[in-house]
Each structure stands twice: as structure tokens, then as C-alpha cells.
Subunit: 222 residues, 2 copies
């Protein structure tokens, strides 16, 4: 550690993505004062993707909540398109699920909008240099999620539509049990298992037990 870093921001090129023009103006003023070049601005997912593709900036300052899919969607599209770009999430939210979601999508840092101008300049310079930058406390969310301590809770109205018995069968199926094994485990016939599985797949709009496994494991139900 302790490599000398150029934190002046000189010659860095960034794209600012936020759906509030006022905020973009503020960010631009603060960071241009430090010598950072704002190559482009964008206010939604579509324009952000093209702006980033055209400008090829060193860093993208990216709002988390935006019309058209949010910051994570921008990152996914850019990632598919090719060149590696560094993203620094910039959001009013300090919610764990926002932080985790955007980091999982590939952002190299996350700072809240209460950040000061000089701090933002410093943060941009650091992510450009390869560091990860977080507002204090927010980094902990990522660590917790990484260590499996917290779960990204989300409502599951789909899951609610399943009956008790269907959930029971689903758990076993998702865990890799064959129909025959589920039947033996629950003291019912294979035909009944088939009925329940069909109901589960239909209600969850899935088409195979493998998708069910994936669905359940995404929700940490197994």
C-alpha cells in the first residue's frame, strides 16, 4: 500500500450518468474544478450506454436508480459490448440491497450523494487508479453479503402462491431429489409428486426442474 497516487484528477475523463440535470451540473462543476474532464453526460440507460461507448471514459459516475433499468443495467450492457470500464456508483441510497446489487454488477465503488466535492474527486481518482472506494459503513454490506451473513431479502409473491405441500415438494426437487425419492420421503405416490411439481412449475412460470433448482438457489431456499 501507500503507493503515491495522483489524486488531483488531472487528465482523467469521466462520464456522468444521473437522471437529475441539476445534480449532473453540480458534479460537473465540482470535479472540473479539479481538472477532471467530463466527456459526456447522460440521463437514462439508453443514452448512458451510447455515451460511454463513444467517449470511452476512465471512470463512469453512475446513479443507481434511473428510469430504464438503473445503473446495474448500464453496466451489464457495457460489459456485453466489450471494453472494460470502471464504474463508481453515486446514489442517495445507503440501502444494503442497492450497494450489493451494484457491486455484484461490477462497480468498483459506491459513494453516497452527501459526499463533498473534494472527496468525490479523490474517489474518482482512486477508482481510476484501481482502488475500490466506499462511503464508510457501506463497504460492510458487501462483506456481509460476501460472507453469507445477510441475505438480499426480497418479497416473493410468487412463493406465496404455492401451497404448503407444493413448497415441501419444491424444496426436495430443487435439492436434486428424483420424483421417486420425493415420493418415498413424503409417503405419497410418484403421481402425486408429479402433480405438485406441475403446479409449482406452472405457478412460477418455469419449464423444468433445473430452472426450479436455479430459481430456488437464487433465493437461498435450499
Amino acid at each position: 500500500m501507500n503507493e503515491p497516487l495522483d489524486r488531483s484528477g488531472a487528465s482523467l475523463r469521466v462520464v456522468v450518468v444521473d437522471d437529475h440535470a441539476m445534480f449532473r451540473t453540480g458534479v460537473r462543476a465540482e470535479i472540473e474544478r479539479a481538472g477532471i474532464v467530463v466527456a459526456a453526460e447522460a440521463e437514462d440507460v439508453e443514452s448512458a450506454v451510447s455515451a460511454i461507448t463513444d467517449a470511452e471514459p476512465d471512470v463512469v459516475l453512475l446513479d443507481v436508480h434511473m428510469p430504464g433499468g438503473g445503473g446495474a443495467e448500464v453496466m451489464r450492457r457495457i460489459a456485453r459490448r466489450g471494453p472494460a470500464t470502471t464504474f463508481l456508483a453515486l446514489s442517495v441510497s445507503d440501502a444494503a440491497e442497492d450497494v450489493i446489487g451494484i457491486i455484484r454488477a461490477g462497480a468498483r465503488g459506491y459513494v453516497t450523494k452527501s459526499i463533498s466535492g473534494p472527496e468525490l474527486v479523490d474517489a474518482v481518482a482512486r477508482v481510476a487508479g484501481g482502488d475500490a472506494v466506499f462511503s464508510p459503513r457501506l463497504a460492510g454490506f458487501v462483506l456481509d453479503a460476501f460472507a453469507g451473513t445477510i441475505e438480499v431479502a426480497q418479497v416473493d409473491e410468487d412463493l406465496d402462491r404455492l401451497t404448503e405441500r407444493e413448497r415441501e415438494v419444491m424444496r426436495l426437487i430443487a435439492r436434486g431429489y428424483a420424483y421417486k425419492e420425493v415420493a418415498k420421503e413424503l409417503f405419497i405416490s410418484i403421481k402425486t409428486v408429479e402433480t405438485h411439481v406441475s403446479s409449482v412449475l406452472r405457478k412460477l412460470q418455469l419449464s423444468s426442474r433445473h430452472e426450479l433448482t436455479k430459481w430456488a438457489s437464487d433465493r437461498r431456499l435450499i
Copy 2:
């Protein structure tokens, strides 16, 4: 962000775990100067566990590489034993696998031993306050691992026993392709796909394409 933090270290109690007595002495001198209380020292896994259990410190400064299992082993044992304790890893190593391993085990931060005294005091105060603390650049390893960018590389003699064609088929199967789709993709007949899949399953000692999917995803081959 920007909550006022007490970074003086006043009244904080820590346990220092490191197998080098000289280094423990240095750490103790530096942090006691700032008002931090060193409740105990330990030089191996066994003594660390009992020292931490007895002293119940606010923070444990923990060496990563130690005789008897290393810092991760200490954390696992303490975690099993009950009360939540905050660990700050302190290591000469800046290797990604060390950082990832210790964070995955539950540490709230990772700093290298090249850190200065005041910086260490600040780091201790911050982890005690709930923040995550990293030496610059090291945090990026965790993010990469979290986003699935890097892999914890491991040799795979099993994988070597597969022929080129078998690996090709395996990749598609593991990704969820049906035999029919694999056949179309590789311009071969379904029967040939079956042959290759059979070989792959036999060589890897698996019994179904689902286990193959799991096997492959464990090794990040998909």
C-alpha cells in the same frame, strides 16, 4: 456518510494475534500510545481462541499466516463458540487469495503490515465503529471475487483427462443445452453427443448432467 467517528482509540480493547513477538510488541507500543488497551496477546491458534474468549475485546488484530491453521481458523472457532467479535486482518501478504480467504471467513478489514502506527490506530477505530477497512488496492480483490471476475485457481487433473471435444461438449451441457441443441451447435449427431457425455460422466465419476452442471459451476467453468 461522514458520521463523526472517535478515531482516538480511547477505551477500545483489542487482542493482538501474531506469531512474531517482536511484531506484537511493536503493535502494542503504537496503539497503546493512542489510548487503545491491549487486553491480551497470542501467538498461535489455540492461545488466540482462549485469549479472545476470555478478554472479549472490541477488535482482534489477526495475523493471516500462523502455525496451527492461520487466522481464518481462529475466526471459525470463535464464531462457533458464540459472541460476535470484530476481526481486522493484519498481514505481510498482499495476495488476492489471502485477502479473499480471510474476508470470506468473516474479517471486517485487511491491512498490510507496512501500515503506519497512526493509520493502524485509525483502522482499529473504524472497524470497531462498524466500517470495513482495507489497504488501498486490496479491496478490489474482494470485489472481483464477489463479482466472479477472478477464480480461486486450482489444478484439475480430472479436467485434464478429458479430450478437447469432450470439454467442448461438457461446456454446453453444463450450460443447460439439451443434447439436441449441442448436436446442432457442433454440427454432429445426437448420438455423438451422447457418446461424449457418457465419457465425460465416466471420467469425472458423475452420474447425471445435473451433477455435471454443479461440478462445472463449482469450478467456474461456465
